[in-house]
C-alpha cells in the first residue's frame, strides 16, 4: 500500500539541476553554494545537529530548506555564513571555502537572521550606511544605495528614526534592505516571514522574487509550506540533521503518490474494529495509501505511519486505546470523488459513520508530514 519516502531510505534522491534563472554577470563558474558531507556535533549532545548533509545551489536559484524546529536548518545556515564551525565536511560560497577563508566568504554573502540584530543605537538609514561602509563602499555610493533600498522597502519616511520603535514588519524589511546594501551574491534568509502579518509576508515574498530576477542566489529556511511552495525552485527537507529529500516542490508532492486526497472524519461504533476498518479502506481499489491524521490537533491520537506503515521518525505516541472517532487522509490514485461511495460502504460494514468529508490534493505539507512524522518538536 503506502509507498512513502522516509528516513529509512538512505540516499535523498536528488533530482536534476535547478531551473535556469538569470545568471549574474561576472559570477564565478560553479554553484553559488556547495555543501558536502557537512557535520556539526555539539559537545554533550547525543545526536549531531547537522549529520552528513550534502547539496548545492545554482547561481540565481531560490533554494528552500524545509524542516521542523531543531531539524538543523539554522545550524546549516550558521556554518555557511561563517558563524558556526563545522565538525566535518566542506562548505563553499561562490567557490570560497567558508572555514579556510571566512573573510572572503563574508564578502560574497549576506544574512537575514531569525532574530533581529539591527543596531539599536542607530537610525534606519545609519544602519544601512554603516553596513555598507564595513564592506568598503564609498560615501556617495552607499548614500545613494541606502536611499534606493529604503524607498524599495517602503521605509523612506522612517529613515531617520531609531529602529527600537519599529514594528516587526519594518524590522524585517530593514534587515533585508541592510543585507542587500553590499550587493551580495548569496542571500541567506532564516525564517524570513515568521511572525509577520499577511501583507508583510506577501511583500517579502515579492522582494525575494525580485532578487531571483536580479540573479541573486537565495537560500531560505522555513517551516511554512506555503512559503516554500511559493518561492523555492527546489526544496530540501531536513529533519534531525539529515537531508531527507531534495527536489522541486511539484516533484516532491508527486513522489508521495496520490493524485487527490479524501479526508474522512469517522465516528466509531461501539464494537468497531479499527485496524480492520482502516485495512478495509486501504484495500479499496483506487486508494494509494492512507494516513491517520489527528482529529483534535497535534496532541490527539495520530499514528505517524498509518495502519501497518513504518513508524515516523519522531516516534509519535501510541494510538489512543479506544478512540471514539478517528480522522484519516486517503490518498487516491485518481479522482478521489470516485472513492466516496466505496468508503461509505466500508464504514457501514464496520458500524462506523462518516462525520465529515473533505476533498483535496496533496500539498508540500503532506510531503513534510510524510517525511518527518507528526511528533512534536522542541
Amino acid at each position: 500500500m503506502a509507498t512513502r519516502v522516509g528516513p529509512g531510505d538512505d540516499e535523498p534522491p536528488v533530482s536534476g539541476a535547478a531551473p535556469g534563472p538569470a545568471v549574474a554577470a561576472g559570477a564565478p563558474p560553479g554553484p553559488a553554494v556547495a555543501v558536502r558531507d557537512l557535520v556539526k556535533r555539539y559537545p554533550k549532545r547525543p545526536v549531531n545537529a547537522v549529520d552528513g548533509v550534502s547539496f548545492s545551489v545554482a547561481v540565481g536559484e531560490v533554494f528552500g530548506l524545509l524542516g521542523p524546529n531543531g531539524a538543523g536548518k539554522t545550524t546549516t545556515i550558521g556554518i555557511l555564513t561563517t558563524r558556526v564551525a563545522p565538525s566535518g565536511g566542506r562548505a563553499e560560497i561562490a567557490g570560497v571555502d567558508v572555514v579556510a577563508d571566512p573573510v572572503a566568504a563574508r564578502r560574497q554573502l549576506a544574512v537575514v537572521p531569525q532574530r533581529a540584530n539591527l543596531d539599536q543605537a542607530l537610525s534606519a538609514r545609519r544602519n544601512l550606511l554603516f553596513h555598507a561602509a564595513y564592506f568598503g563602499m564609498g560615501p556617495a555610493e552607499r548614500s545613494a544605495r541606502a536611499d534606493e533600498l529604503l524607498a524599495q522597502f517602503g521605509l523612506t519616511d522612517r529613515a531617520d528614526d531609531k529602529v527600537d520603535r519599529f514594528s516587526g514588519g519594518q524590522v524585517q524589511r530593514l534587515l533585508i534592505a541592510r543585507a542587500l546594501m553590499h550587493n551580495p551574491r548569496v542571500l541567506f534568509l532564516d525564517e524570513p516571514s515568521a511572525g509577520l502579518d499577511p501583507q508583510a509576508r506577501l511583500f517579502i515574498w515579492d522582494r525575494i522574487r525580485d532578487l531571483r530576477t536580479a540573479g541573486v542566489t537565495v537560500l531560505l529556511t522555513t517551516h511554512d509550506m506555503d512559503e516554500a511552495a511559493a518561492l523555492a525552485d527546489r526544496v530540501g527537507v531536513m529533519d534531525q540533521g539529515k537531508l531527507l529529500a531534495l527536489d522541486t516542490p511539484a516533484a516532491l508532492v508527486e513522489r508521495i503518490g496520490g493524485a487527490s486526497t479524501l479526508d474522512v472524519g469517522i465516528g466509531l461504533g461501539a464494537h468497531g474494529d479499527l485496524p480492520a476498518l482502516l485495512g478495509g479502506l486501504a484495500a479499496l481499489p483506487g486508494v494509494d495509501h492512507l494516513d491517520r491524521v489527528s482529529p483534535d490537533g497535534p496532541g490527539g491520537p495520530g499514528g505517524p505511519g498509518g495502519p501497518g506503515g513504518p513508524g515516523g521518525p519522531a516516534g509519535a505516541g501510541a494510538p489512543h486505546p479506544s478512540p471514539t472517532s478517528v480522522r484519516v487522509r486517503i490518498y487516491g490514485t485518481g479522482d478521489a470523488t470516485t472513492l466516496l461511495v466505496p468508503v461509505a460502504g466500508v464504514l457501514e460494514k464496520h458500524g462506523a459513520t462518516p462525520r465529515d468529508l473533505t476533498l483535496g490534493r496533496p500539498t508540500l505539507e503532506d510531503v513534510f508530514i510524510s517525511l518527518t512524522g507528526r511528533g512534536l518538536r522542541g
Binding site: N127, N183, D210
Partner: protein, 280 residues
C-alpha cells in the same frame, strides 16, 4: 497565487547585478569603520557619556580630597596622593565598564554586534576594536579628571619632566581596563553579569591602591601582598610616580612592565572568549 501577483511591484532597485561592491577593503579599513561606528554613537550621546565617567571620580576627589582634608580628618597633602590614584581608577573602571556591559548586552539581547561579526574582517579584529574603543573612552575620562582636579582641589600635582611616564601609564591603564572588560564581557554568562560585577568591581575599587600608596601598606603586610593581584595597583602607583614622585611609590619600571603584561594577558584571554562567543 493571484493575490501575490496583484501586490507585486517591479524589480527596481533589486534588479541590479549581484556581486560584491567595489574593491575588497583591507582589514584596517574595515577596522576604522567599526571604530568610527562606536565613536559616532558616543559623540551623539556625549553628555550621557561624560556623566557616566566623571561623576564617580568627581565625588571621590571632592569627598576624600576636599571635604575630609578641610575637616581635618585627612592631612592636607592627602589630596596630592589621592588624585593620581583616582585618575588611575577612572582609566581602569571606565575601560572595564564601558567594554564589559555593552558586550554582554550585544551578544545576548540586541545582538547588534552580529553585523560587525559578519563584516569582512577577522573576528579577532572586532574584539581588538572593542579594546581600543574602551581604552579611548577611558583616556577621555582620565583627561577630563585633570581640569576637574584643578577645579575641586585648587591645584594638582604635576611634574613636566615625567610627562612621558604619565602618558605611558595612562595608556596602559586604559588598555588594561578595557581588556579586562573584554574578558568579562566575553566569558561571563549574561544572567551572571550582575553578580560577577558585584564580586569584581568592589574589590577592584578598594584593593587597587588608588586611595593609599602601596609602600605605606607595610603596616598591613598581608594586604600589601593582596593588592599586588590587582592590576589597578600598578596603574595607581605608576600615576603617583609620574605626578607626585615625592610620595613613596612603587618602582615605575615594575609598574609599567606588570601593566603591559596584564594588557597582553587580558587581551589574549578576552580574545579567546570573544572568539568562543562569536563562533559557535
Amino acid at each position: 497565487m493571484t493575490v501575490t501577483e496583484t501586490t507585486a511591484t517591479p524589480g527596481g532597485t533589486l534588479a541590479r547585478t549581484a556581486g560584491p561592491c567595489g574593491g575588497a577593503p583591507g582589514t584596517w579599513a574595515v577596522f576604522r569603520q567599526i571604530l568610527w561606528r562606536d565613536v559616532y554613537v558616543t559623540l551623539r550621546s556625549m553628555p550621557t557619556f561624560l556623566a557616566q565617567v566623571v561623576l564617580q571620580p568627581l565625588f571621590l576627589v571632592f569627598v576624600f580630597g576636599k571635604v575630609l582634608t578641610e575637616l581635618g580628618y585627612a592631612r592636607a597633602d592627602y589630596s596630592d596622593l589621592l588624585l593620581p590614584g583616582v585618575i588611575a581608577l577612572t582609566c581602569v573602571l571606565t575601560g572595564l565598564q564601558g567594554t564589559a556591559l555593552p558586550m554582554v548586552i550585544d551578544f545576548s539581547y540586541t545582538r547588534e554586534i552580529e553585523d560587525r561579526l559578519m563584516a569582512p574582517l577577522p573576528t579577532d579584529a572586532v574584539a581588538l576594536e572593542k579594546v581600543v574603543f574602551g581604552a579611548l573612552r577611558g583616556l577621555i575620562a582620565a583627561v577630563v579628571m585633570f581640569p576637574v582636579g584643578i577645579l575641586v582641589l585648587g591645584h594638582i600635582p604635576f611634574d613636566a619632566a615625567r610627562l612621558p611616564l604619565l602618558v605611558v601609564v595612562l595608556i596602559l591603564a586604559t588598555i588594561v581596563g578595557s581588556a579586562m572588560g573584554l574578558a568579562l564581557g566575553a566569558l561571563v554568562r549574561p544572567d551572571q553579569i550582575n553578580i560577577v560585577f558585584a564580586l569584581v568591581l568592589t574589590p577592584l575599587l578598594f584593593t587597587g591602591c588608588s586611595q593609599y600608596p602601596w609602600p605605606s601598606l607595610s603596616v598591613l603586610p598581608w594586604f600589601k601582598v593582596a593588592t599586588l593581584f590587582n592590576p589597578l595597583t600598578y596603574a595607581s602607583e605608576g600615576m603617583r610616580a609620574a605626578m607626585e614622585p615625592s610620595v613613596a611609590h612603587m618602582n615605575p619600571v615594575v609598574a609599567v612592565v606588570v601593566l603591559a603584561a596584564c594588557c597582553a594577558g587580558f587581551i589574549g584571554l578576552g580574545g579567546w572568549g570573544f572568539r568562543r562567543r562569536a563562533l559557535d
